[in-house]
């Protein structure tokens, strides 16, 4: 089945130690998104790629970076994780950008910072 896959499902990292989360898709969608979700809140968009074109949300901290080496893969790099970065990180894809498009999500990576 075509899908969005995130690895790992759970990640524990030390305060200040760089960490990378990965996302792959077999849907061949043009757009890939990274969201951060904290407990009891809706997901918050960090950035997205339309093909290789990177779009950063204005309030996304500089500590967060992303790479998309090809259509299928996208990575989220957190350069110096703080305790406040502990959250669920969700990757999503869509065939095109808004408005007439449907988003599909991976199973998420739950990040713990110790």
């Amino acid at each position: 089945d075509a899908m969005v896959i995130q690895n790992p499902r759970y990640q524990v990292t030390q305060f200040g130690k760089p960490v990378t989360l990965s996302c792959s898709q077999t849907l061949n969608h043009n757009v890939m998104y990274w969201y951060q979700q904290k407990s009891s809140q809706a997901p918050k968009l960090l950035f997205h790629y339309y093909d290789k074109d990177f779009n950063n949300e204005a309030d996304t901290p500089d500590n967060f970076q992303s790479r998309r080496p090809n259509t299928s893969f996208c990575f989220l790099d957190i350069r110096s994780p703080g305790l406040g970065d502990a959250a669920m990180y969700l990757c999503a894809t869509s065939r095109d950008v808004a408005p007439n498009t449907e988003a599909f999500f991976g199973q998420g990576t739950r990040l713990t910072v110790v």
Binding site: A42, A98, T101, E102, G108
Partner: protein, 109 residues
């Protein structure tokens, strides 16, 4: 910007009961999606429904775009229906999904 409001915020039901979740939005939208976030955190697509009615098994959804609301119906609830239900919309003023705060549903055996 557009406001998306979901009600009720919390709902506790016995297994077998029916429920209706509501999503109101303050402006015209191009697209609306309903998601179920299970207890493990995965967001599962339920419906892509900018207008009209769709059904999938025990679940159905109706969006009345002219009146700016959408309803999600769950019939014969099962414990696996527990989790948080989100609606999210795209509208002309923005390229990203705008999310409601979610409805937390607990189904007791």
């Amino acid at each position: 910007g557009i406001q998306v409001e979901q009600s009720p915020p919390d709902l506790i039901l016995q297994e077998g009961a029916n429920s209706t979740l509501r999503c109101n939005f303050s402006d015209s939208v191009n697209n609306l999606q309903w998601f179920h976030q299970n207890p493990w955190g995965q967001l599962i697509n339920l419906f892509y429904i900018p207008s009209g009615t769709k059904q999938n098994g025990r679940l159905s959804a109706t969006t009345v775009a002219t009146e700016r609301y959408s309803l999600l119906y769950i019939s014969s609830s099962q414990t696996t229906d527990s989790g948080v239900y989100f609606c999210a919309v795209y509208w002309d003023g923005n390229y990203q999904l705008i999310w409601g705060a979610g409805t937390k549903l607990i189904i007791k055996p």
